[in-house]
């Protein structure tokens, strides 16, 4: 069929399908998106003011994405971030009138509790995370809507006064550093990747698969609770749409960042950072170009599809747990 294959194109094709290239793809994509957006907006996106605005939108998605990164490395998926963020934000806002540390604690516990519910059903009842979290998403979205029907939930002025860049940067960097350390230098990272690559074999090699999965869901929920705090200090009052579609945004961001949708050993921690930045630039660029929301969604959908198709590890392809 390809008898007289000359060497050049086959080497090039081999490079295109190599892991090195797939690892570089997100970075190339990031540069391309920044350059394209910069040209289309006639340089407006790279002004200091814009960059500051961009960064202010990065913090809480990046914190949430860190938790989801671990879940997706397991080969699982979580659709509850948006509703968790909404609910945790409401708890934080209400408690912020009593005490701010209490508010933060309340937010983190709310997130952890939702994560625990997801993890419990996923692990104990062997329900796929996909199914479990779609159900709980509806449940908690309902709770959010119920709590905000009368009016938006306001937060105290004390907590709004904390809307300081250095604080948000510190929280985000701290979360990333701790997560990176756990992922890279403790057995948690190894266990999570092993489960994502082959759960039974991991269990037969001594990984406490059920416990690890449950804890990852709890931790991801708790991180969303922290993100909710960053959200509250920024927006100040919580409406029914708080965190709406956050789960899909995070999913797109991580996949744009090069995270294989099947999870496993080929994930890289940099996926979180590159992905979130890329998504934010893309999102802002589309807004600046004056596209309507519908058109924006359409474009994001297409880019998402192309990226999944380019980065997916077909050898590891299976149903998401």
């Amino acid at each position: 069929m390809q008898k007289n294959n000359n060497q050049e194109p086959s080497k090039f094709r081999a490079f295109l399908s190599s892991d090195t290239f797939k690892g570089l793809l997100p970075f190339i994509g990031f540069v391309v998106i920044v350059v394209v957006m910069n040209i289309l907006t006639e340089g407006k996106i790279l002004t200091p003011k814009r960059i500051r605005l961009l960064l202010s939108q990065v913090y809480y998605p990046m914190i949430v994405a860190t938790g989801v990164f671990f879940i997706m490395t397991l080969g699982s998926i979580d659709f509850t971030e948006g509703s968790t963020l909404g609910l945790a934000s409401i708890v934080i806002s209400k408690l912020s009138f009593i005490s701010i540390p209490l508010a933060i604690l309340g937010g983190v516990l709310t997130g952890a509790a939702i994560g625990a519910i997801n993890g419990f059903f996923h692990v104990k009842f062997k329900l796929q995370s996909f199914i479990t979290t779609i159900c709980t998403m509806f449940l908690f979205r309902g709770v959010c809507a119920y709590l905000t029907t009368e009016s938006a939930v306001p937060a105290s002025t004390e907590i709004k006064a904390l809307d300081l860049n250095w604080l948000k940067i510190t929280i985000t960097v701290a979360v990333l550093l701790i997560a990176w350390f756990l992922f890279r230098f403790t057995r948690i990272g190894n266990d999570v990747k092993a489960i994502g690559s082959g759960e039974t074999a991991a269990r037969f090699s001594g990984v406490k698969t059920d416990r690890v999965k449950f804890l990852v869901f709890v931790a991801a929920g708790a991180l969303t609770g922290i993100a909710a705090f960053v959200n509250v200090i920024k927006v100040g009052s919580i409406t029914a749409t708080a965190g709406s579609q956050l789960e899909t945004q995070i999913l797109i961001a991580l996949v744009l960042g090069g995270l294989p949708i099947t999870g496993g050993a080929k994930v890289r921690f940099s996926n979180i950072i590159v992905g979130t930045l890329m998504y934010t630039v893309l999102n802002n660029g589309l807004v600046m170009l004056g596209y309507e929301t519908q058109t924006q969604q359409l474009i994001k959908g297409i880019i998402f599809l192309v990226f999944v198709a380019l980065t997916i590890d077909r050898k590891a392809l299976k149903v998401i747990k």
């Binding site: 050993a265 050898k315 590891a316």
Partner: protein
């Protein structure tokens, strides 16, 4: 059912088996840097059974999978019966008259037996886009009865049957339409003695019909017995084709390995006294639907073999000891009284387990060699919970090299390795952990001679160091050659026990198995 008349053509051409049926010219395939098949040219006649042998990674499976449309042809050409053959997928290959029975599970869960048999060939049963299930089931049942597998019901879900019965269904699927060439790729390792006999009968029938079989196996004995000629591959290259009648097992081994293989294959000693010290006591262990009331003791420095037909429950015994079974009752206790009720305890208390289902239960295929090897030892390698990646790499590298794993480095993914090298990674993992009790389920399944010999030597070494081994195996010669004691199982219970003895024969064991 239209019994594709055109496929019967070669039968008329059968005149002593000298008509070339398949001509392969300069067949080539590369996977990244691995040259899996390197410029292989060979001719296979109509009406012959051709053995295709070689060590793991020699390219025999890749070669035949290109022929069957599973892999695309990297270079060169196949000519089948005068027609060029470029199958893009298995269905195309089937239609051209090439069928394959693969090594691993080749049936689809969630479909009935009949749907599996006619998968990709449903047209005869379709009327205006609606499937006539009754007709399909009847035809499938007719075929099953014809093959003598009447106990398998065509309308049942395939999931109701065990690995071996599913293989039989695959055999029917691959052969009912009378392919010109049937490729049997390591199928016998999944079959018990009975199943093998069935397969040999079918192979003989195909030859008698003037059609051709390519028979891939690691079991040279079997290859010698059932083929007319044998082609040998080594490291992706074609070594030569030999008439079975004019060659010997030793000669073939030399061609395969490229060097002399000693005759010391199994351990040679007999009559050595095994220690009385009990290291593991299994008491009244049952797993619903699998095994019932299994009790035995394992001694220090003993190799305890478990034999039986593949569905006799012996594989579950391995899982039960390692606490990997669901719903196990009864007790598994170590000499110090520790009860083994969960896998982490089993591993911490020095029990190792390798599964028969290597790709799903032993190695993590989509993970690096390094991370596979360090997995159970990770707690020991951590310093206050903190991992030193350089230390992990050095650890994995040491044990992978001790096992002489063929790899580009420990960061290579296990998915790139051949079956034998995967097994080396599994063994390296437990060698690194320093486990004292090893439960090895089918340790040499689908593995070539070179690696087999290394695994037997390793087991013998471990035994001499006072480690205890439970070897579960469907290979009777291996049990006779390696075990100090053999427990035979049948229908989930222990049916016999034999001590190591040169006078012990395969028949003695088989008598207790069936």
């Amino acid at each position: 059912m239209s019994n594709n008349v055109n496929l019967q053509k070669p039968a008329q051409k059968h005149e002593g088996g000298n008509t070339p049926l398949l001509i392969a010219e300069h067949i080539d395939k590369q996977f990244g840097i691995t040259h899996a098949v390197n410029d292989v040219s060979l001719t296979i006649d109509a009406g012959e059974v051709r053995g295709l042998i070689g060590e793991n990674g020699s390219g025999k499976s890749t070669f035949s999978q290109m022929l069957c449309g599973i892999y695309s042809i990297g270079g060169g050409s196949f000519t089948l019966d005068g027609q060029p053959l470029h199958p893009k997928n298995q269905v195309e290959a089937n239609n051209a008259g090439v069928a394959i029975i693969v090594q691993e599970m080749g049936t689809l869960s969630g479909l009935t037996v009949a749907e599996n048999i006619f998968f990709g060939h449903e047209e005869p049963f379709m009327h205006l886009g609606v499937k006539n299930t009754g007709a399909m089931n009847r035809e499938a049942q007719r075929l099953l009865n014809e093959y003598g597998f009447g106990r398998i019901k065509a309308s049942d879900m395939i999931d109701r049957y065990n690995f071996e019965d599913r293989k039989l269904v695959e055999i029917v699927k691959a052969t009912y339409m009378k392919p010109k060439i049937l490729v049997v790729d390591e199928t016998t390792t999944a079959l018990s003695q009975n199943g093998r006999q069935e397969l040999y009968k079918i192979v003989d029938a195909i030859r008698a019909d003037g059609r051709t079989v390519i028979f891939i196996s690691h079991d040279l004995n079997e290859v010698m017995e059932h083929t007319d000629s044998i082609s040998v591959l080594r490291d992706g290259e074609f070594v030569g084709t030999f008439r079975t009648a004019d060659t010997s097992e030793d000669q073939l081994k030399r061609y395969m390995v490229g060097r002399e293989i000693g005759s010391a294959y199994y351990r040679a000693d007999y009559g050595e006294k095994v220690s009385d010290e009990v290291v593991l006591t299994v008491d009244n262990v049952s797993v619903p639907g699998e095994i019932s009331n299994i009790s035995f003791q394992l001694h220090r420095g003993e190799i305890l073999g478990f034999g039986g037909l593949s569905e006799c429950g012996m594989h579950e015994v391995g899982k039960a000891i390692f606490a990997a079974s669901w719903d196990r009752t009864g007790s598994v206790k170590l000499a110090d009284g520790t009860a083994i009720n969960d896998i982490p305890t089993a591993i911490r208390k020095s029990i190792a387990y390798t599964s028969k289902n290597r790709d799903n239960e032993s190695v993590i295929v989509n993970e690096s060699i390094r991370n596979n090897i360090v997995l159970p030892s990770i707690e020991d390698l951590a310093n206050h919970g903190i991992l030193n990646n350089r230390k992990l790499t050095a650890f994995a590298d040491k044990y992978a090299k001790d096992m002489q794993t063929k790899m580009t480095g420990v960061n290579q993914f296990v998915s790139d390795l051949s079956g034998g090298n995967k097994q080396k990674v599994v063994l390296a993992r437990w060698l690194g952990k320093g486990s004292d009790i090893l439960v090895l389920d089918s340790p040499t399944r689908g593995i070539d001679i070179g690696v087999k010999q290394a695994i037997y030597a390793l087991m013998d070494d471990m035994r001499k160091q006072g480690k205890s081994i439970i070897m579960i195996s469907e290979e009777i010669p291996e049990l006779l050659g390696m075990a100090d004691r053999i427990i035979v199982m049948k229908d989930g219970t222990i049916s016999g026990e034999f001590m190591r003895d040169p006078a012990l024969s395969e028949e003695d064991l088989i008598a207790k198995m069936v």
